[in-house]
């Protein structure tokens, strides 16, 4: 079976509002630039897969009027309505069949046009959850409270995750928030929904990202050194928060186990150099350590306190600064992939981490209460 590799990537500038560009301009910039990065022409691409969300775009079937800018005119094409990392997963399995050589993958969103609260509340069923007014902050706050109380954590503990990621983000020229914060500053920032405060929550971000995937034969001769996809796992948990133990991320655990099986990983810490995860709120990162098997349940905080997951630690998590420093909904998971690709190829820049195994873990999440999770292992 042919291996599938990433041979090019592009991230747009991430900022709270890309005021002077519309959605299609963002897509166009991204596609033109990723082709430049891989030194390919659009004629070398035989498959396009995009990730976007109609509710954010304010357009039904939102890939329909993006074909010009996406370069999908008269090409085989499909759209995944979820995070870009899911589109990557889908593209990967399709590429394994050998029917295509180069696949262009684009994820884009301008949540500043729609408002993330609207997006999340529309994801609630109209009968039970929507009338409660749940959205991203309030749903995560319920989960944080449950997590803190189950394992005896404090708000200061979560603040330390934000401090760690903002410190890493301050070195990353590609991210949005590049200023360090202190525990005290996090604690003094205003509550969005108790116990969650502004500085431990992901910002609002507009942006787009793209990668080019190639089969082994093409990737080996590519301009850029390829990063190979070793495997994927993904899973979706129960929808209703009342049906779940919110102090755990079961779907993250299932996704991780499937990815480890596919990639042949037995001991994550021993075999992988670092991880990039989607922690839209600081406490999620600790919960994810537990789901990914980096530590036992309730012990995520220890890894933070011991500096294990610091950018200079034994197993850095989110050397890019993570989603706490930039969170373009729908694109964030693909950003984790691209940040890992840049790390593995030694192109990360000031936030480059030391590696000796040449492997990275990537995590993406979607849905309220982190209902859906995806894990992938990449290798150089």
């Amino acid at each position: 079976m042919s291996k599938i590799g990433i041979i090019g990537s592009y991230l747009t500038e991430f900022k709270g509002r890309r005021e002077n560009e519309n959605r299609n301009q963002l897509i166009n910039e991204t596609v033109v630039s990723v082709l430049e990065d891989a030194q390919l022409s659009i004629n070398d691409i035989d498959k396009v897969i995009s990730a976007s969300c109609d509710t954010i775009d304010g357009i039904s079937i939102s890939n329909a009027f993006a074909a010009d800018d996406m370069g999908s005119y008269m090409k085989e094409e499909s759209k995944v309505e979820d995070d870009g990392a899911y589109a990557l997963m889908y593209a990967y399995y399709r590429m394994l069949t050998g029917e295509w050589k180069n696949c262009l993958l684009v994820a884009h969103a301008k949540p500043s046009d729609a408002g993330p609260a609207f997006y999340a509340n529309m994801s609630c069923d109209p009968f039970y959850l929507r009338p409660m007014g749940l959205e991203l902050n309030t749903s995560a706050a319920l989960q944080a409270r449950k997590y803190y109380e189950t394992f005896g954590l404090s708000e200061e503990d979560a603040a330390e995750v934000a401090v760690k990621n903002r410190r890493a983000g301050s070195k990353n020229p590609r991210t949005q928030l590049r200023k360090e914060v202190s525990v005290q500053e996090v604690m003094n920032s205003s509550y969005l929904a108790s116990p969650l405060k502004e500085l431990e929550s992901a910002p609002l971000t507009d942006g787009a990202a793209a990668v080019i995937l190639s089969t082994e034969d093409f990737a080996k001769n590519a301009k850029n050194k390829p990063v190979w996809i070793d495997g994927f796992g993904f899973a979706q948990d129960n929808y209703y928060p009342g049906n779940r133990d919110l102090s755990r991320c079961n779907a993250g655990k299932t996704a991780a186990q499937k990815a480890y099986n596919e990639a042949g990983i037995k001991d994550l810490m021993q075999e992988v150099d670092f991880a990039e995860v989607c922690e839209s709120y600081a406490f999620y990162e600790m919960m994810l350590y537990e789901s990914l098997g980096l530590c036992k349940e309730g012990e995520g905080i220890k890894l933070i306190k011991d500096g294990v997951t610091d950018i200079n630690g034994k197993f850095p998590v989110n050397p890019s600064g993570g989603t706490l420093c930039a969170n373009p909904i729908i694109v964030s998971g693909l950003v984790r992939v691209i940040e890992s690709y840049l790390q593995l190829t030694g192109k990360a820049g000031d936030n480059q981490v030391a590696q000796n195994k040449g492997k990275a873990l990537v995590h993406a999440a979607s849905g309220m209460f982190m209902q859906s999770n995806l894990v992938s292992i990449l290798s150089i």
């Binding site: 039904s60 329909a64 005119y73 889908y90 129960n238």
Partner: protein
């Protein structure tokens, strides 16, 4: 292709307007029907590919999150594909490729919509157009299909009533399909001509109905499929394409995107002469004239010959290549499930399980889907034999 892939189970709900179930409950009925058909349960499914058309129809974002539990996908791999009217086809193709990758043994594709939740599906369809350049003059799908039909009739000199002959053919076929919505006894050309004009040249008879429905298909890798059943529809080739925007010189009556999808799928399935080799086809005839236009895109005949192919009787139930034995989209259109119904009906035909709408001896079939703003197409080929 790493693994050969077969369809081992099909689930369908009846197409109708229904108020007895919620959206997840409708998906549950579709999934349950597929589980029962294949003799499988949720624990046998390795992954789910979830299809659903625009959120604007029912007002729920990320419906796959809400519906996952109802189809048995809790704590399982599930993701959503969304490509408008083709979504059912895109989801089926997604499940097919997951199995073909060699990494999954059994995958369920499920797709649907509950269109009666909205006051008009046309509101959701008009928001397809760009908010700055196009939405001001958008008037739903019929206005676009009318332009397409007028262009087709004028370019090739067909009468405005030839589309009604497609309607008569398909509506009579639908009488044999227990899942169809429009079942009108003694449907004839005279009656169709007397239906009101909706959007010139399209009459009411040229239109599809508004349905609530879910369709599901279970795909399995070769060895697994043969364990599950001896009536397998082998998926032999697939393609989904994008024809792009409404650029000024685009001819809506000449679907070059569909021709591309067809050529790719035929090449993968080893088909050289589709009219001769295919035994039956199910195409996405949301508006009657489109069926003739799709004949041409699918290379059943040359450009401009679709109307003549219809008039020759070749696509009647007893013709050389029966098209839409189920009655097609003209008799049932939930949008979200419609393109998967085409694939599922095509699969049932080569399994020899299509009941009263069975084309005798069918061994090679095609299922088509159309969507977006007249630019997406999906094509899948199924066979009784593995190659």
């Amino acid at each position: 292709m790493t693994s050969k892939v077969g369809v081992v189970g099909i689930g369908m709900t009846e197409n109708k307007s229904r108020w007895d179930v919620s959206i997840p409950a409708l998906y549950r009925l579709g999934a349950k029907s597929a589980y029962e058909d294949a003799g499988l349960s949720p624990k046998d499914i390795d992954a789910f590919v979830f299809g659903h058309s625009p959120e604007y129809f029912e007002g729920v974002n990320q419906p796959e999150k809400w519906c996952g539990d109802a189809i048995g996908a809790t704590d399982k791999p599930l993701f959503r594909i969304h490509t408008g009217g083709t979504v059912g086809g895109s989801a089926a193709i997604g499940a097919y490729y997951l199995v073909a990758s060699g990494k999954f043994d059994v995958v369920m594709a499920i797709s649907g919509n509950k269109l009666n939740e909205t006051s008009s599906a046309q509101i959701g369809l008009s928001t397809v157009y760009d908010p700055i350049m196009g939405r001001q003059f958008a008037a739903g799908a019929p206005s676009a299909a009318a332009i397409q039909a007028a262009k087709y009739y004028n370019k090739h000199g067909y009468s405005n009533e030839i589309g009604l002959k497609v309607a008569v053919k398909n509506r009579n076929n639908a009488l044999n399909n227990p899942y169809a919505q429009l079942k009108i006894p003694d449907y004839n050309l005279e009656g169709a001509k007397n239906t009101p004009m909706l959007c010139d040249p399209l009459r009411m008879a040229d239109m599809c109905p508004t349905s609530d429905a879910v369709c599901a298909m279970i795909f399995a890798k070769e060895e697994k499929a043969e364990e599950i059943t001896d009536k397998i529809a082998w998926a032999l080739g697939a393609s989904s394409t994008n024809e792009g925007l409404n650029y000024p010189d685009r001819d809506w009556s000449k679907p070059i995107g569909l021709r591309l999808a067809a050529e790719k799928a035929y090449e993968r399935a080893g088909i050289k002469n589709p009219l001769k080799e295919l035994d039956v086809a199910e195409v996405y005839d949301a508006f009657a004239p489109q069926e003739m236009i799709w004949y041409e895109g699918l290379n059943f005949c040359d450009w401009g010959e679709g109307g003549n192919l219809l008039e020759s009787g070749a696509t009647q139930m007893d013709g050389e290549l029966p098209v839409n034995p189920s009655g097609g989209v003209l008799c049932a259109n939930s949008i979200g499930a419609a393109a998967m119904f085409r694939k599922a009906e095509a699969a049932l035909q080569v399994m020899g399980r299509a009941g009263d709408r069975q084309v005798p001896g069918a061994r090679l079939s095609l299922g088509h889907g159309w969507g977006g703003a007249i630019q997406f197409h999906t094509v899948m080929i199924f066979g009784s034999d593995k190659s």
